[in-house]
């Protein structure tokens, strides 16, 4: 899992990177908003973001909104880092698209728990995105019978787009995954018996 750390202070950045790497994750470092956005331009975009509230070139809230507009099948999980415990600021952060927040100084135990929770969320979203892609592929390959079908009122043959008439079974088999197995329904059984008897008469 790649974790982007957006933090302008060198020692805090090193502290967070050291913790994250000690837990087996890859730390990607950015000291301002520009570097943070550039990290998403690579083929290997970070899935988790630790985002400082105050950055030299951009407000953390603005950056959060920008990251949210980048798109992609699985949006990154954003944890805002703030030294302010003010609820109004936290609400603004969450409104801007942050998934969670952590108040500085960061408690490593809490950070690790939040990262794990974020990874579970990303995993879930990834599986959902995969399933949606599978369903879209499946839907694309399904042959559909839709629209108006001209059918003979007597023999029930169906007329195709080229003006040829086909038996119902033949037409439906060609335009769907259906295979017909033939039988005789109870209503038609007496008639079938009569026909068979007539045929057997010399």
């Amino acid at each position: 899992m790649r974790v982007l750390i957006v933090e302008d202070d060198r020692s805090t950045r090193r502290l967070l990177a050291g913790l994250i790497e000690s837990w087996g994750r890859t730390a990607v470092l950015a000291e301002n908003g520009q570097q943070a956005l550039a990290a998403f331009d690579t083929g290997d975009a970070p899935q988790l973001v630790l985002l400082d509230w105050m950055l030299p070139d951009v407000n953390g809230l603005e950056l959060c909104r920008k990251v949210r507009t980048l798109g992609g099948p699985v949006p990154p999980h954003i944890i805002m880092l703030t030294s302010r415990a003010d609820s109004g600021d936290l609400v603004a952060g969450l409104d801007a698209g942050a998934d969670e927040y952590l108040v500085k100084p960061v408690d490593p135990i809490e950070l690790r728990a939040r990262l794990n929770a974020g990874e579970r969320m990303i995993d879930l979203q990834q599986r959902l995105a995969d399933r949606v892609a599978e369903l879209e592929t499946a839907l694309g390959s399904v042959q559909k019978l839709t629209g108006l079908l001209p059918i003979c009122a007597y023999c029930h043959s169906i007329r195709d787009d080229s003006n040829y008439w086909h038996r119902v079974e033949e037409y439906v088999s060609e335009h769907s995954d259906v295979t017909f197995s033939h039988g005789i329904c109870p209503k038609c059984q007496p008639r079938a018996r009569e026909e068979m008897n007539a045929e057997s008469q010399p």
């Binding site: 202070d9 020692s11 490593p108």
Partner: protein, 126 residues
């Protein structure tokens, strides 16, 4: 102040709170302290220059960074003073910012002294 390798003083200097902040990694703590020993005085200079230029945005940014970093080292007094300065700077109150800065300078010096000792102890122990 010189620390002797493995001395009880060296061990007790690095309190459990500081170590917990870096997940118990002494080498990481030494690195983080070293960066602050370099950057802390620079932040103070940025604030001093911002106050001289009347640039409250620069003062606010540097005070914010200083507060955040000081909090990493459990330097509560410095954190509180830096946050107060940040608040005054946000309010564009240069007079109050200058007063806050005067108090902050001695707090920074104390924290830098304390961290220098801890850093030396960590270096000796490694």
């Amino acid at each position: 102040m010189t620390q002797v390798v493995g001395s009880p003083t060296a061990a007790t200097l690095v309190d459990s709170g500081l170590l917990a902040r870096v997940g118990g990694d002494r080498a990481l703590l030494a690195e983080v302290i070293e960066l602050f020993l370099e950057d802390g005085p620079m932040m103070v200079e940025q604030i001093r220059k911002g106050l001289a230029d009347g640039d409250t945005a620069a003062v606010r940014m540097a005070a914010h960074s200083l507060a955040g970093t000081a909090a990493n080292f459990d330097a509560d007094e410095l954190t509180t003073l830096a946050r107060a300065l940040e608040t005054h700077a946000r309010a564009d109150d240069i007079a109050e910012s200058r007063k806050a800065f005067a108090r902050l300078v001695s707090a920074v010096r104390q924290v830098l002294d304390r961290l220098t000792v801890i850093h030396t102890a960590l270096q000796c122990a490694s």
